[in-house]
């Protein structure tokens, strides 16, 4: 009986310390020191309205825009997820083959061999904000034709929005699709 009392009391104390105090202390300090990151790295427009988050991808269906990765959840960040297709899954193979056909239609000037695999595969989170630099530059001929902006200028935009590997060697260089498209829209507005 004595041991049971010890166990219950210890459990409640640990719940208070590890569950509540620890989390609240970190939240308090983080909100005071790094409010931008702690609140979700939100991007605000000129009117102060929230456009999105630097870290969360968005849907770009318009062919004038740079397009991001396949998202089975349509970038609905209320949740997250993928269809979890196995490499042998027929639905996945069919979806990818169709994406290649669509690419040929939308980008007649760019051969399929120039289509990087990240553009036609579903990301792990369904919210991937990035594409590879190659996946951005391969869309330039299409966007240049549709918007009339010279290809070199678009290439410069892509390079401006390319984030190199962290510390110079970790991971992969990426292009943030949302920020790239915001820069593109700014250029179009000019």
């Amino acid at each position: 009986m004595r041991m049971l009392a010890t166990i219950i009391r210890t459990s409640l104390v640990l719940m208070l310390v590890c569950g509540l105090l620890y989390n609240l202390a970190v939240t308090g300090i983080a909100q005071a020191m790094m409010p931008h990151q702690a609140s979700g790295s939100l991007i605000k427009g000129d009117d102060g309205e929230i456009i999105g988050s630097e870290l969360i991808g968005q849907n770009f269906k318009d062919l004038n825009d740079f397009q991001g990765r396949v998202s089975s959840i349509d970038y609905n960040a209320e949740g997250s997820g993928t269809p979890n297709y196995a490499p042998s899954n027929e639905d996945m193979i069919k979806r990818t083959a169709e994406a290649v056909e669509q690419w040929k239609k939308d980008n007649p000037d760019v051969p399929v061999s120039e289509l990087p695999i990240d553009l036609i595969t579903n990301s792990g989170s369904g919210l991937d904000p990035n594409i590879s630099p190659k996946a951005a530059s391969t869309q330039i001929p299409r966007i240049s034709k549709l918007t009339g902006i010279p290809a070199q200028e678009l290439q410069a935009l892509v390079e401006d929005n390319t984030k190199p590997r962290e510390l110079g060697f970790l991971g992969e260089p990426v292009v943030n699709v949302l920020q790239l498209n915001l820069a593109l829209h700014e250029r179009i507005a000019k």
Binding site: T10, V26, S39, L55, F60, P87, L115, T121
Partner: protein
């Protein structure tokens, strides 16, 4: 082109941190006065007092009893919180109460250090539940297994086992809490949210409405990795950009997952007074780790032959289910780290891995000795070391000895039962699932078999990752994996502590020239041989029917 530096650097950091961390852990659990008492003593005394903890030595039955009972009480408390979360504060997204079988599964899952999740964090748990149920268990579960691993080592090395409550509290105050606290701020600095504010509504560039879930993720994330817990705040775990924004956070997560588990061989070496033996075990495990990593990387870079045949630019490798910022290299490395350390966090969807990449993750969990989870993994390793000694003894016809104690019938019976329970927990329910509940399996063909096999392997090994296409939030899966996780966790803890108790009662035999030395390269080879032979004999048939068959069907 593989970016080798990005693979070598994290692995090297892990190797360099292992020994100092191991020596620190040994010191943290010393009952004699150390300098650490000055720092942590006041807080610990406060907790002992509030908890009513008497700091007396326990025998193996008392130690195991306190452990099982404490964990049972915690499971009960957390179950209750899940069931009434809708009525409790800090629930800005108005999450409903959890359904009973799911709450049963989730409470066991987190207490068993498994973190198998049949719910999605965004919609299944309130902020309060994430904090006082999930994070609470993310501290107490690894603290429990670290405590018992230390008690096991004490027993093997001829010392009293100690007191469960003292070891539990020390694991938290001296190891988990300080490291998690500091790491949380690194995560937040690179973009992990830490807020109690509700989801935010954004108006996207295309003019649509985008609801963005967030929460107190930073403090959750650091203990999730450090404690080899692995349960995600968000549904897709560390593939979510908020739960792993870049490669700084990704590398830190991998280091935290490996930190304590790679340190324990050195803790053991220190406590046993035989640093060389600890080093041999460390190197043996590191060799398995590097081999599995090499195979996984090769397979993921080669990609999916069927997609590659479409004529696209596939030099990035297999990108389905992966995030661009990690690419194949960091995804593959993470998948090996998370299964070797039995954490279960994922930054890529394991269901979408190439067949051989998936085989490596499942293989790591079946062997459960490539470092393994915090504490529990190392106990498993010592079990295989004893099996190795026993087999060697049989071959030369001598009574086997380990650390100067004779290994006899009683110990071997306990170990044999422990060894046999794991395949039973994995293969039997997999067979039932395939026969009775095939509709819950999402991918057709051989891969479907792997999905069910993975779920139970992950449960039994207390890993917690999944082939997540599985429709696993059903009564069958919730109850079956709940039971498998519970037995996978607590059965071996009790039997192995009984082995330690039995050895502790024996007289030490003096070492002679005929003693099989357990601190040589030969012993390392015997250890590896035992692991691989036992693992391969047990699981080879199932693996051939699953990932290997899928591999052969994809081959061009």
């Amino acid at each position: 082109m593989i970016n080798f530096l990005a693979i070598i650097v994290p692995v090297l950091i892990v190797i360099l941190l292992a020994r100092p961390t191991g020596l620190y852990v040994a010191k943290a659990f010393k009952y004699e006065r150390t300098g650490l008492d000055k720092v942590f003593g006041p807080v610990e005394r406060l907790i002992y007092k509030a908890g009513g903890i008497r700091q007396d030595n326990q025998n193996w039955k008392q130690y195991a009893g306190s452990l099982v009972l404490t964990n049972a009480v915690m499971i009960g408390l957390v179950y209750l919180i899940f069931r009434i979360q809708a009525y409790l504060p800090l629930n800005p997204s108005h999450v409903a109460n959890m359904e009973p079988t799911l709450a049963f599964n989730t409470a066991i899952s987190f207490m068993a250090n498994t973190n198998l999740q049949h719910y999605s964090g965004e919609s299944g748990l309130s902020y309060l539940s994430q904090m006082i149920a999930i994070v609470f268990m993310m501290f107490t579960a690894p603290a429990t297994s670290l405590a018992i691993a230390i008690a096991f080592i004490r027993g093997l090395t001829g010392r009293p086992l100690g007191n469960f409550f003292v070891d539990l509290i020390r694991s938290i105050t001296r190891i988990l809490l300080p490291i998690a606290f500091v790491a949380a701020f690194v995560f937040i600095a690179v973009g992990v949210p830490q807020t109690l504010e509700p989801s935010v509504v954004a108006k996207t560039v295309e003019g649509a409405e985008q609801i963005i879930a967030r929460g107190p993720v930073g403090s959750f994330l650091s203990i999730k990795e450090l404690g080899n817990n692995g349960g995600g705040f968000f549904g897709v775990n560390s593939a979510h950009p908020f739960e792993n924004p870049d490669n700084i956070s990704n590398m830190l997560q991998m280091i935290l997952m490996m930190l304590v588990t790679t340190a324990l061989p050195f803790t053991y070496g220190k406590m046993a007074g035989n640093a060389k033996q600890g080093r041999i075990l460390f190197v043996s495990m590191l060799m398995m780790f590097i081999v599995t990593l090499g195979i996984s990387l090769t397979s993921e870079y080669a990609g999916n032959p069927v997609l590659n045949a479409l004529g696209i630019d596939h030099h990035q490798g297999s990108m389905e289910g992966k995030e661009v910022r990690f690419g194949v290299a960091q995804s593959s490395l993470y998948s090996v780290v998370t299964t070797a350390s039995e954490t279960g966090a994922v930054n890529t969807m394991h269901d979408t891995l190439t067949p051989i990449g998936g085989l490596i993750t499942i293989g790591n969990m079946m062997l459960n000795t490539v470092f393994g989870g915090i504490g529990a993994g190392f106990m498993n390793v010592l079990m295989y070391a004893i099996i190795g000694v026993f087999l060697s003894g049989l071959m030369v016809g001598r009574t086997p000895e380990f650390l100067g104690k004779k290994i006899e019938g009683k110990e071997m019976k306990l170990i044999a039962v422990t060894m046999l329970i794991q395949p039973l927990l994995i293969l039997a329910p997999t067979a039932i699932a395939l026969a009775v509940y095939p509709e819950t399996i999402s991918n057709p063909g051989f891969h479907g078999l792997t999905q069910a096999l993975y779920e139970f392997t992950s449960s039994a090994a207390n890993n917690g990752s999944g082939f997540e296409g599985l429709g696993d939030n059903t009564t069958f899966w919730n109850i079956s994996t709940g039971i498998v996780m519970y037995l996978g966790r607590f059965f071996s803890m009790v039997t192995l502590l009984a082995v330690a108790g039995s050895l502790l009662a024996k007289k030490t035999v003096p070492e002679t020239t005929g003693t099989f030395r357990t601190d040589t390269g030969l012993f390392g080879a015997v250890f590896l041989g035992s692991v691989i032979i036992v693992g391969a004999l047990t699981f080879f048939p199932a693996v051939v029917l699953g990932p290997i068959a899928e591999y052969l069907t994809l081959k061009p």
